[in-house]
Amino acid sequence: MNLDALTSTTGEWLRGTGPESDIVISTRIRLARNLASFPFTHRATPQQRAEIESLLRDRITRLDLPHPLRYISVTALSPLDRQLLVERQLISRELANGDGPRGVAFDEREAVSIMVNEEDQLRLQVMRSGLALEQAWHEIDHLDDLLEAKVCYAWHEQYGYLTACPTNVGTGLRASVMLHLPAIGLTRQFEKVFRSLQKINLVVRGLYGEGSRASGDFFQISNQITLGRSETTVLSELQGVVAKILSYERNARAALMAEKRMELQDRVSRALGALQHATMMTSDETMELLSSVRLGINMGLLDDISMDAVNELFIHTQPSHLQKLVGGPLDGEERNAARARYLRTRLRHTA
């Protein structure tokens, strides 16, 4: 399976369009589902896992969808390709690093992905650019119905959809909104904003989900509770909280422009300068600098660089993408030099 073609695009979640896309990068909803007549993945024998994979692969590839899904066996992929899919948010790190028969199906837009034999046998995922919880829900709800017509889900009258971990039981739904909050960061208001989130059972994570730290002022906000609250209730609670955070960020941006415009302009220009001229660049530093450039574009402080180009750089400077683009494996130092070279070339014509 050749995944190199993926490196010429960015995929749905980094398209940079959709409602509130100056702050909201993307919306993601996932549903955890399992089959009624098998043990959960970690308890299934290798033979059972193979049976589950072959059954689900067959059902998934026969789904009647406007954008057909392509199934890829993760077992057959190189570590670099697995990491590439993680960077594109098509698979989880758990699926990439797991063992036994497992795979993923996704469409060419990279808006839908279905993981097979992750912690749960099925992890359905729909991604949208910008803030689009309702549309994402409609799409995944429909996808779930289509699949459920072909397989028998593990379901319980009282507990709902049954999952390997009781923290997901009930709806099996996890909705996440990825936000870019540089002004809240610059004005040091994080604690105030996020303290209120914990009270209402929402969690904040970094760009690459569980266990990842926030870098470049990107944050994911998701629901934790899956039992006792309907999908629509959970989504509208999340929508409400995101609306509040958006207004905090917009106010902070306006305040920065009113009170510290020169300082902000300086920060943005320096960030772009470093990206254009550095000889070594780590992944983290790239994120921080691109974050400032992204803010600069949104505030009208930079006009000859497009948001599309910045979004593309976010993904292309990730370790696996970079190694794919330069056509070979690179260790830490080489990789940092290659990243700086890549950024220099891409940003050469920006004033």
Partner: protein
Amino acid sequence: MQCQFCANPATVHLTTIVDGQKTVQHLCEACARQHYLVEHHQAELNIKAAVHFMLTQQLGPEAEELSRLTCPECSIKYMEFRAEGRLGCPRDYEAFRRGLEPLLKRVHRAVRHVGKRPPHYQQNRQRLAELYELHRRLCQAVEDEQYELAAQLRDLIRARESFG
């Protein structure tokens, strides 16, 4: 500091923090041995036994009963689930109901699902059970290199899958 089981001085101290609530257990070496926390020939703590010990202390008098629970379907023990955090099969939700409900209450503040139901569940259950069985036999036939049987089973599956 005295051992909580006898009057001897405590040398083993276990701290558990659940939902911000800190509890500390103090044991003397002999009592720690009795609970398998330390073994005769080793200086280190037996981690598995320590987890089990702390869980039983947390769960109270019901713990002994819970620790005997085993799923008849996948044979996972309740205590294995508590140690690993993951259940073995869908049946466990019934088998471990008594232990699970307090946990669900703590995590979700609820024990009853509200929301979507699988729309085809009832009508497909029987038909799908048959299909799973055919599929299982197909996988076995392929594994055993019985290709003629496999082809027959595949045709049978296709014929029955007309709804899919």
